[in-house]
């Protein structure tokens, strides 16, 4: 999609100036960032937060995937949306807000939920995927994509005062190694509640991990589960070994490094 003309448009060179000085960041990685295609599946609390930072930091292209419309009760934590967006498609409202933030950003939108019928086509040609979902079944599909392509998927979840982030790269260990199938899991923020900044923080950790992976710096949370409990103010990181008998990533010769 064409970026609208803006009198404030300026070069992405300025935008990445503070990245250049970071230890480990090479100039080649910056051009990788500018050409990177990232899919954000689910434009709720997680996707809103991660999209803001990825767009601002200079990621080339974002694909936003969500079939829902903005509801009033989203506004407490889904910070791209304004009251006047209520009733609009989330992907449309978010794309517009992100283009305002950075006119040079490439954005495409898929106004449908990720499901068995569309996941391969929707995720094709992306370097990295962020899980912004609030349901189990499509997370299993993202996990299959991670195992089949070897490309990174940054999983996350938040509910109540708790947040988690887990990265699958190179196909194993995968989300299934850790939790088994999550297809049946239905957690509802309407019942459990969620503190806005907790889900925002999980989204920002996703953006941070995505940038580390795209810039190839540091040690991403690959095979490590990051846990945040805002209620007690405690954080932990669990090393997750691959399960040799994992039905998704174990034994089958599917994973190739991407």
């Amino acid at each position: 999609m064409e970026a609208p003309q803006s009198p404030w448009a300026f070069s992405d060179k300025e935008r990445v100036r503070r990245l250049v000085a970071l230890p480990g960041v090479r100039r080649e990685s910056l051009s990788k960032l500018a050409s990177a295609r990232v899919a954000i599946v689910g434009v709720g609390g997680l996707g809103n937060a991660s999209a803001l930072y990825l767009a601002a930091q200079g990621v080339g292209h974002l694909t936003l995937v969500d079939g829902d419309a903005v509801a009033q009760h989203n506004l407490g934590r889904q910070i791209l949306f304004r009251p006047e967006d209520v009733g609009r498609l989330k992907v449309e409202a978010a794309a517009e807000a992100l283009r305002r933030l950075r006119p040079e950003l490439g954005v495409s939108t898929v106004a449908a939920p990720l499901g068995e019928s569309n996941w391969r086509a929707v995720l094709a040609n992306h370097d990295l995927v962020l899980d912004g979902l609030d349901q189990g079944l499509p997370r299993d599909l993202l996990n299959r994509w991670a195992v089949e392509t070897g490309r990174p998927v940054v999983f996350a979840g938040a509910i109540g005062y708790e947040a988690q982030v887990f990265v699958v790269q190179g196909g194993r260990p995968c989300l299934h190694c850790l939790f088994g199938s999550v297809a049946e899991v239905a957690e509802d923020c309407a019942v459990t509640g969620v503190l806005g900044p907790v889900v925002g923080m999980a989204g920002l950790v996703q953006a941070q991990e995505a940038l580390k992976l795209l810039l190839q710096v540091g040690r991403p949370l690959v095979g490590r589960l990051w846990l945040w409990d805002a209620f007690s103010g405690s954080t932990r990181i669990l090393e997750v070994p691959a399960r040799p008998d994992c039905p998704v990533c174990g034994a089958a010769p599917t994973a190739h490094k991407g």
Binding site: G42, G44, G45, L46, G47, D131, G132, L133, D134, Q135, G136, R139, A156, G157, A158, I159, E162, A163, Q164, C177, L178, F179, G180, V182, E184, V185, A186, E187, D188, C189, T192, V194, V199, L225, L227, R236, L238, E239, V240, P241, R243, D245
Partner: protein
């Protein structure tokens, strides 16, 4: 018995399997990750996988909201 659960030393009633421990702690068997001494235990094995004195366990609920 004495166990380390999520980094904390805890005294719990005698249990012999992961399934019994989860039930004792009132933790659902669905969408939970259990590691015993660093190894992941598949859900299908909870009923048979042994829990012994001084084992180090991680029990983490899947957080699914977004």
């Amino acid at each position: 018995m004495q166990l380390t659960i999520n980094g904390e030393e805890r005294r719990v009633a005698e249990v012999d399997t992961v399934a019994a421990l989860l039930d004792h702690l009132r933790v659902s068997h669905q969408a939970v990750a259990v590691m015993v001494n660093g190894a992941i235990v598949a859900r299908e094995r909870y009923a048979e996988y042994p829990v012994k004195e001084r084992d180090v366990l991680e029990i983490v609920r899947f957080v699914g909201g977004g």
